[in-house]
């Protein structure tokens, strides 16, 4: 069983590296946004890394991922190339969506990453559909569907949970409850603020998880995915987490206090895991420095790749508006 995770040296460092990679990537995105290399809406994932990284540990290549507009972390942890992700934000044809989607709409057929969906709640019905197809075409495959707690206000959340439970579909619903739907605090929007209880109301086994702890998330995700693969139907994780940065790049954050942000930053999953690994002699300072410098080099290469990318010819603007064939 995977109830207990053996956090050895390699795996502990792997989790830290994955989270750090996202954190450093997002910092670079913010910088490039200021430099106007990245435009449009940009939603950064700082603070929530433990959720994406923890859940992805439980997934296989055959599994599918449906995500939201705050999906850089999911995309990186799923293994989409960091260069194509950055190039996408530069609007280049080398981007993972050919520059058509931008930050909010990362797609990757190879890793079954089905967006990058920027209609809150809109990804859940898709996940029900991929799970329905997978049960027939890829037995054992699971769809991991990420969404924020704001989605719980949408009808599509309820319609999807009901149908997934009714048809016992292989979906892992992952609610990243960061307490604010844009600027609306949970308690102002929901009569029931424990989102996992809503899932339980549909007969789905659901649990609340410390979303600031990648190990807790991984353990819960592995347990849930094992049950789903065993044919037990959907599972639901409510990961309690917090976004450290603003909702997007246009947010004065008047809806929350600096003190609250500080309280959550004290629970930052990255320094916590880093200290735990160092104190437990599972990572040396030299190893940490190597991880940091490898990530820095990787991000630098991604920026170079994006900068060197080309613009899709305007003549191709209408290409794929209707498809000539179903990609195989």
């Amino acid at each position: 069983m995977t109830d207990k995770l053996h956090l050895d040296r390699a795996h502990g460092q792997h989790l830290l590296r994955e989270m750090l990679r996202i954190r450093r990537f997002e910092a670079k995105c913010a910088e490039l946004y200021q430099a106007q290399k990245i435009r449009g809406f940009l939603h950064l994932y700082d603070g929530q890394e433990a959720v994406a990284v923890g859940v992805m540990q439980a997934l296989n290549k055959d599994d599918a991922v449906v995500s939201t507009y705050r999906e850089h972390g999911h995309a990186l942890a799923r293994g989409i190339g960091i260069g194509p992700i950055m190039a996408e934000m530069f609007g280049k044809v080398e981007g993972c969506s050919r520059g058509r989607g931008g930050s909010m709409h990362l797609f990757d057929r190879e890793s079954r990453f089905l967006g990058g969906n920027a209609i809150v709640g809109g990804g859940l019905p898709l996940a029900v559909g991929t799970a329905l197809a997978d049960r027939q075409l890829r037995p054992g495959a699971v769809t991991a569907c990420f969404f924020g707690e704001g989605a719980a206000g949408e009808g599509e959340f309820h319609e999807s949970l009901n149908l997934a439970a009714l048809w016992k579909l292989p979906v892992l619903f992952v609610c990243e409850n960061n307490l604010y739907a844009m600027g609306v605090p949970l308690a102002l929007a929901e009569a029931q603020t424990d989102v996992f209880r809503k899932a339980a109301g549909y007969g789905i086994e659901a649990e609340q998880v410390d979303g600031m702890n990648p190990v807790a998330v991984e353990v819960a995700a592995r347990r849930a995915v094992d049950a789903i693969r065993a044919g037990e139907g959907p599972r639901f994780l409510e990961c309690r987490t917090y976004r450290f940065r603003a909702h997007s790049m246009f947010d004065a954050q008047q809806y929350r206090t600096k003190e609250e942000i500080e309280v959550w930053k004290a629970r930052d999953p990255i320094p916590r895991l880093r200290e735990w690994l160092t104190q437990g002699h599972l990572m040396s300072d030299a190893e940490l420095a190597a991880i940091e410098s490898e990530i820095a080099a990787e991000i630098e290469a991604a920026v170079t790749f994006a900068e060197a990318g080309t613009l899709e010819p305007v003549a191709d603007l209408e290409r794929f508006a209707t498809m000539d064939a179903v990609p195989q």
Binding site: R109, T130, A133, L163
Partner: protein, 330 residues
């Protein structure tokens, strides 16, 4: 050897089409409200649950958004779903998935994902179902890039459009008119497929072109009969495909007759008829000998009372009057 024509209703043709699709492709299934045990709100899917079982003919909860969205996801993951939305009025509850997912994802993903999904729905008025079951919203859907929009008005199209729609890599919406379900027609046994890109001339004539689709087609044909008694030869073009429009066939007919009446059961403001009129005005202006006329639904929610409903929808007399005004100007 010529086999005799096969007579069947539009409803039966729709059902045969679904039965065929389920037989020929194990990836194909149908889901929607009441498609199984009940046999379909308009009895189109009657008997299919017994024949194919509950995995292929899936009753769903009343949850249009997840029905449509699950169709999108299943199509992206390799199945060939047929989604039935009970009426196009209800499809508004699924509009997010139809527009923001189905129509958008292929382009937005840079062509990595296609959405080979078919959504069928009932449309139109004429059966006293009042304002929440009688509207014609296909014109709205025809506004959206990424979708194909079909309106079968003959038994042949009801029988064969579905297969072509399922073979298409794009999301295809099929609007079946509620008044047509009971209409009977002959199927030519030699015809085993129809295209989903062309308009068709259903009656030839030299004096005026009547462009129409859906349940307005039989009305336009009846109007053409009356006009012929007056010596006006009307050409009737069945649009069949509302997106993308078959400009070639439409323009060829109007260029020949130099006069055009567009009959559209949608409201006039911002309608498909407005789109066609604008294209004719843009590209065929100098071929026209008379203004373009439109016969559309009156700008009210379709009412229940029979006489009011009749007054609200395009009728034969309206089409005759419009054509007469063009072909024999005072």
């Amino acid at each position: 050897m010529n086999e005799p024509p096969i007579r069947m209703t539009y409803r039966e043709a729709c059902r045969q089409a679904i039965r065929d699709a389920l037989r020929r492709d194990p990836r194909c299934f149908i889901m929607g409200e009441d498609v199984g045990l009940y046999g379909g709100c308009y009895a189109v899917t009657k008997g299919l649950l017994e024949e194919f079982g509950a995995d292929r003919v899936r009753d769903t909860p009343l949850a249009e958004s997840v029905i449509a969205g699950a169709g999108v996801g299943a199509a992206m993951a390799g199945l060939r779903p047929i989604v039935e939305l009970m009426t196009c009025n209800f499809s508004l509850l699924a509009l997010d998935q139809i527009m923001n997912s189905a129509a958008t994802i292929p382009h937005m993903s840079g062509g990595q994902f296609a959405v080979p999904l078919v959504i069928r729905m009932a449309t139109g008025g004429g059966r006293q179902l009042a304002a929440q079951h009688s509207h014609s919203l296909e014109g709205w859907y025809a506004h959206i890039p990424g979708l194909k929009v079909l309106a079968p008005s003959t038994v042949e199209d009801a029988r064969f459009m579905l297969a072509s729609a399922l073979d298409d890599p794009n999301p295809v919406l099929i609007f079946e008119h509620i008044v047509l379900y009971n209409a009977e027609g002959d199927l030519d046994p030699a015809v085993t497929a129809v295209d989903i890109h062309s308009a068709k001339v259903r009656r030839t004539g030299r004096d005026v072109t009547i462009l129409t689709y859906g349940n307005s087609l039989p009305k336009a044909l009846a109007a053409a009969g009356e006009l012929a008694d007056d010596g006006i030869e009307a050409e009737v073009v069945d649009l069949r495909v509302l997106r993308p429009l078959d400009k070639e066939t439409i323009f060829a007919s109007v260029a020949r007759t130099r006069r055009c009446v567009i009959v559209d059961e949608g409201w006039k403001s911002g309608s498909l008829s407005a789109e066609i009129a604008a294209r004719l005005a843009e590209d065929l202006f100098f071929e026209l000998d008379a203004p373009i006329r439109r016969v559309c639904s009156r700008e009210v929610p379709v009412p229940y009372a029979a006489h009011l409903e009749e007054a609200a929808l395009p009728q034969i007399a309206d089409i005759v009057a419009a054509a007469r005004g063009l072909a024999k100007p005072q």
